[in-house]
Amino acid sequence: MAASAIQLAGMGEIVVARGSGVIGCIGLGSCVGTVLFDPTKQMAALAHVMLPEASAVDANAMPGKYATTAVPALLRLLDTPPAHASRLKAILVGGGELFKNRSQALRIGERNVETLHRLLRELRISVVFEQTRGSLGRSFEFDVATGLIRVRVVGTPPVEHNLAAALGMLRKAA
């Protein structure tokens, strides 16, 4: 995973990779890095989701910012109509609550994760890898060519997972 090849999605941004390339997010707190992967095209789109639902005024400003606008935007980028969305696989990282004992907590991380799960369930997209909730910040890099994901939390070495089988990429290995 060469550093130069990584496309990072900043807050509210969306990045896409097809065939090869590494996509990821740095320093996810309550935000959720949401990857949709199409195994037939070996193509992935990633949104750095900040909030669960768009307010009416802001819905079109930055589709990646809200769960409710990010998921349809990812489908469009993958050229996948909702009726065919079940061929896609999802990866979710983030959605932590970093601040302890917050009075009147907004629980944004938790609500981001809940909203994304609901939207993906409605589209029959299965979540093949998830590291969400809890109290930790996270970074991750996902390699579209190999199906390897590397997740980092503060103060510990990165942990790598091979998602090739779960993502339906086994064809290549055969």
């Binding site: 935000c31 900040m50 400003a61 004992n101 910040g137």
Partner: protein, 202 residues
């Protein structure tokens, strides 16, 4: 996006940051017996993806911080952030010891940072209240220790909830006696800014 603040109004917000944090660092100096001084405050719109530009910490470096919701006439979120080495300076000054990494961050160390935030924010709000006549209340600080970008983005998202734009009034404070930088960000609800400018007559 956001209407650009006039220079006059941006100046007023910077001056408010100065006055508020002036009171706060005096309290910190009293608490620690070490002189702390302010850097010039910055007023920055946080638009969409953009975090305060001047905040130049490595995104995955460990920081310690607090967030407190402020209610009353000028509501918003107040947040203190300390890079790990700066937090260690505070712990050494106040309890004469420091944790051996994030895993060693027990209740005592957390309560030191919460108490510093509590005292500084209380003085910040008192100074602003004296200048404007505003009633301002704060909720107890909530604590986080994690990578810089994860903490800062969580603060921005909390402030962004329910509003389109976020404005950050950022002030850094230092001491000539130690390698230390602390950061204070006030993220006011932008919809309530008019009220402030009215009181200030601008």
């Amino acid at each position: 996006m956001m209407n650009p603040l006039s220079e006059l109004r941006a100046d007023a917000l910077r001056e408010l940051g100065n006055i508020g944090l002036g009171g706060a660092v005096t309290a910190l100096s009293d608490l620690t017996g070490v002189l702390f001084t302010l850097e010039a405050p910055q007023v920055l719109p946080v638009e969409g993806t953009q975090l305060p530009q001047v905040w130049q910490l490595a995104p995955e470096s460990p920081v310690v911080g607090t967030i407190s919701r402020i209610t009353g006439d000028w509501p918003g979120e107040g947040t203190f952030l300390f890079p790990w080495d700066s937090a260690c300076v505070l712990w050494q000054l106040l309890v004469q010891m420091q944790p051996n990494g994030l895993a060693d961050l027990n209740e005592l160390y957390q309560s030191v940072i919460n108490e510093v935030s509590n005292i500084m924010l209380g003085n910040y709000l008192r100074a602003i209240s004296q200048m404007t006549g505003f009633t301002l209340n704060m909720e107890p600080p909530a604590f986080a220790a994690d990578m810089a970008m994860a903490v800062l983005s969580s603060v921005v998202v909390e402030a962004m909830y329910g509003q389109r734009e976020v404005l950050a009034i950022e002030t850094a404070f230092k001491t000539p006696h130690h390698q230390f930088t602390g950061y204070f960000l006030y993220l006011p609800e932008v919809g309530n800014l008019e009220k402030l400018f009215q009181v200030l007559g601008i």
